[in-house]
Symmetry: C2
Subunit: 175 residues, 2 copies
């Protein structure tokens, strides 16, 4: 059953990628971009949007930060996000903390470990530049600042389309 | 074995609490405080120190934020933390995200849920005011801003003493 589900997922992802590529080609005149090639400056100074934990292959714990435009829109509950919004996602391996466990007296505490392969991800709002992907440019970088391959970035928008009614942004603000 | 370990832990905690109470009484002239009674202003605007996940009874996912003094000291790797440092811990229940799982195609994603009983915790550095507890005042508040009972707060310092060489602060900075 699991193999069949994974196979179906793979087929669906491939179909989405093909459909998306065709769509992007149709929408653009060769100048439009769908991804971001530089790490936005100062992202580590931004305020907290939320946190999350991913099990499975990702096996990470993550923080989602937002620039001023992002935080203001989140707090106002205002959609779509304004031009210039940037949302940052930093991930670390989800590792047990022996030190904390000793203090708690039991195995329960997990903290950030090493950087995973894609340490940083960003969504940058620019409705003109990224018109082909819902007004958002996507990006990911490894711990050395190397951007992810264009082929990977083409998989972002097909998934984010599932939440078009929240302006394609999965993360909700954690009060 | 587990029962014996828990019993030993209970005895050790009790002994530490008794020792601590005696110590605090001896050190103070009636004016010293060991805990903080008001939520520090603006903590939700502070920068990120780290994130963590606690299993077991706590069952939470948390963000640790720091005011300017905290962030500056953390990044400089400078100990002890300067006067005025405040470290904030916000926790939310660790709950699965059906929406994210649907997008990933598998059960793997956890996000912030409701506030747990002790939604907020703080450590405030004031070496004179909190001389009896290593120069740190401790605090916790529920989601309505009600502070935790003084009896609970007496349990903070005995645990934090385990990391006296890091100025009693468990959380490390996540780069």
């Amino acid at each position: 059953m699991k193999q069949i589900a994974l196979l179906l997922l793979a087929v669906a992802t491939l179909a989405a990628a093909v459909a998306f590529t065709a769509h992007a080609s149709r929408d653009t005149d060769g100048a439009a971009q769908i991804f971001v090639t530089e790490i936005p400056r100062g992202y580590r100074e931004w305020r907290l949007v939320s946190v999350a934990h991913e099990e499975g292959n990702l096996n990470d714990i993550r923080a989602i930060l937002g620039n001023d435009e992002a935080i203001k829109a989140y707090r106002a509950g205002k959609l779509p996000f304004p031009e210039g919004t940037i949302i940052a996602r930093i991930a670390w391996r989800h590792v047990p903390s022996e030190e904390n466990n000793k203090a708690f007296g039991r195995e329960q505490s997990f903290v950030p470990g090493e950087a995973p392969p894609w340490y940083l991800q960003f969504m940058v709002k620019d409705s003109k530049k990224y018109a082909a992907t819902g007004g958002w440019g996507y990006a990911q970088f490894d711990k050395d600042g190397k951007p992810g391959p264009e082929s990977d970035m083409k998989n972002c928008f097909p998934c984010h389309q599932a939440i078009k009614d929240r302006d394609y942004v999965f993360t909700r603000y954690a009060p």
